[in-house]
Amino acid sequence: MYALELKNINKSFGDVHANKNICLQIPKGTIHGIVGENGAGKSTLMSIIYGFYEPDNGEILVNGNALKINDSCDAIAAGIGMVHQHFMLVENFTVLENVLLGAEDGAMLNESLGKARKRLEKLEEEFSLEVNVDAIVERLSVGLQQRVEILKALYRDAKILILDEPTGVLTPQETKHLFKILNILKEQGVTIVLITHKLQEILDITDNVSVMRQGEMVAHTKTKGTTREELAELMVGRKVRLKVDKSDSEVKESLLSIQNLSVIDHQNVPRVNNVSLEVKAGEVVGIAGVSGNGQSELLEAIAGITAIQAGKIQFAKEAITPEHPISPDKIRKLGVAHVPEDRHKMGMVTKMTASEAAILGYHNDKTYNGRILMDLKAVEQDCAEKMQRWDVRPPKPELKSANFSGGNQQKLIIAREVEQNPDVLLIGQPTRGVDIGAIEFIHEQVIKLRDAGKAVLLVSVELEEIMALADRIVVMFDGQIVGEVAAKDADELTLGLMMANAAGNEDNQQEN
């Protein structure tokens, strides 16, 4: 008998067949991994199990009993708990209130709060999930917030725990700790479903793994005896190289030099604190760090989007200082291209067509303009060429950019910036939400640019990506650079420790 069994689940959204005849069997007390690219249908499947969507047909069996799960209430009653990728927490509530929400005993809070406190303390001890129950959630680190989510599920007696991309926001150390917790849960008989796109994690912790591709389950296998390469091939449907080939870099003159840079945001919080950094021609400098430690603001300051409060950003010809800001447009003309971290917010306008999105920021160039009106033919022609060179699919410039997949949107944006032949490329989260096939391609292009003698500044929360691309890695923590290593000497453990600033000086530790 299986803890969770799916029989022939189908789900369509309009024309999109998101789940096709999904069958899945998960034995009790095991950790089951589900891998697949973005849009493979993993999240839809999990939403069906957790009662967010109703399947078009098919059966869900929990402990051998066929169940109808219409909403989250039914799922919780069936002993299914879920830790969502974006936490479902009320940020200004305490841990206790968050756990209690929806699981109160009666109309009055006092009694339930007392009871909940006792039960939580027991649960924390049982599963070694230490969290201060009176802490306000927004003040907790991401790792701790995730624990609150797990506690929420356990408090509701979850026997099946689904975790959706749980490690995306964690440092390697936090990930390790999470896996320790998951193993304890497993020993106690909890069945765990782990959804991820990180293949190494699947190999590290799961017992069995299922691979999804384009809405279908393409393979079920025991984790022992499979390899990353095999899983990647199953996910993509063809052979992929997971390593980036690159030669040693030939470093030349400095193209971007940052001195004692400080950025304070509009809420008066210092985001970048006295950062000095140099990026030279022919090298990729990677900035590692848990998201929210000032990398984004640093990138935006260099791109001219955010004002700086102190220090200097020196390009080849001109410099940004607090007294002398330079507009993003001017910076672009100085030969600095910027691929923003969040492509939907800053990289493109999803309601525009691909051809329009492909010239954003360069739309005043002579090539795209007639005397008075824009030369739309040239714009479309230009986009068609870029699409061909960058393998953007489908190659239709007139299509709305929202209708392209994440990977293809990203390729279009990178094409737009790189084809301007910049001296410096600022690139943030180049492969966030991008499928493996496109990742491979994007990485190659970044290295190509480096080999052409350009300077690349890369910000990514994916440590693997940084280690694959960068020649030099700097780690940011709390707005400061807390360490620098050459990529060949870097390993995940030391970088992880730096990211958590465990090796930080005493001052920093006291602040935390």
Partner: protein, 323 residues
């Protein structure tokens, strides 16, 4: 003792003027804590004021008037809810629509029903809320200070005034001590969290909006059947917006909201009091300036002091289940 009497009289007026603000601000609090912006406080109040005066005048019972006022206000609250919660419409647009609709509808119906140029007939005593004298108020009136405060300031208001102020601790208790309050606060901050916990976001928000309707009903009925003796076109005169300002100024918390209402009420009372007062020989403070004082102060307070008032995070955004 002249100045003391003046202060007592002004505070007494403050309570009376602050009452409708307080009802409306608490109404807004329940709606916005649930994540629904409500700029139709004004419209609901006006609708209720009209309905209360009309029903009271026709039936001869002030309680019937009150019920009619509440029912009308709840009706508009449900329209707001239907547009914003069920159909995920724009909450500001819906609110503006209600305000405009009510401003015109009350006058039109009033003309048609009562033929008095949009006003309702002057209400008789039985058709209005009357002051309640506290025990021994008469006897204690001559005791200095305490007696004054007791008989002049505390005693002698109508039941709705006392109800409004009693609602402050009650609201705080509901919000912070009950399951409903926990869920209401949560749904205004992060509806997804509420949904995944197995609670209906829609029903919860509707309840917030309903409470808002009931309280706005009290506010409106107070204006036309307690503070004055009948309905006059556009008699709310921006009080709904003042209440919103008080809500923001009070950071969506019951007690600070009450204090903000009292402050605005006091300015209003002071404005009346200061009319015709000469600051120098023959130079009086312009009436217009005094009348504008509460609004000017509101602008200053909103712009300067409370720049950091943090609204419920999900306020104004319809809840759509993510795909």
């Amino acid at each position: 003792m002249e100045w003391f009497n003046t202060i007592i009289i002004m505070l007494d007026a403050t309570l009376r003027v602050a009452t409708p603000l307080l009802f409306a601000a608490l109404a807004g609090m329940f709606s916005e804590r649930a994540g629904v912006v409500d700029i139709s406080l004004e419209g609901k109040m006006l609708a209720s004021a009209f309905a209360a005066a009309a029903a009271s005048s026709v039936t001869g019972s002030v309680w019937c008037g009150l019920l009619a006022g509440i029912a009308t206000s709840v009706f508009f609250a449900l329209i707001h809810g239907f547009a914003c919660i069920t159909h995920r419409g724009d909450q500001v647009v819906s609110g503006v629509a209600i305000n405009i609709l009510v401003a015109g509808l009350t006058v039109t119906l009033g003309r048609y029903w009562f033929q008095q140029g949009g006003q309702t007939p002057q209400l008789k005593d039985a058709e209005r809320f009357k002051p309640i004298e506290f025990p021994f108020a008469q006897e204690l009136a001559d005791v200095p200070v305490i007696g004054h405060v007791y008989s002049e300031l505390l005693s002698g208001h109508n039941i709705l005034v006392y109800l409004a102020f009693a609602l402050v601790p009650l609201s705080a208790w509901v919000l912070y001590r009950t399951r409903f309050g926990l869920r209401l606060r949560a749904v205004g901050e992060n509806p997804s969290a509420v949904d995944t916990a197995g609670i209906s976001v829609t029903w919860l928000r509707y309840r917030g909006v309903l409470i808002c309707g009931v309280l706005c009903g009290f506010a409106g009925a107070y204006l036309s059947t307690a503070l004055t003796g009948g309905f006059i076109a556009n008699m709310t005169a921006g009080k709904g917006f003042m209440a919103l300002a008080a809500l923001i100024f009070g950071k969506w918390r019951p007690v600070p909201v009450m204090l903000a209402c009292l402050l605005f009420g006091f300015l209003d009372a002071a404005a009346v009091r200061l009319q015709g007062v000469e600051i120098a020989d023959g130079v009086a403070i312009p009436v217009e300036l005094i009348n504008a004082a509460p609004y000017i102060l509101t602008v200053f307070l909103l712009a300067g002091f409370i720049g950091k008032a943090i609204a419920p995070k999900a306020v104004g955004t319809p809840y759509v289940k993510e795909r």
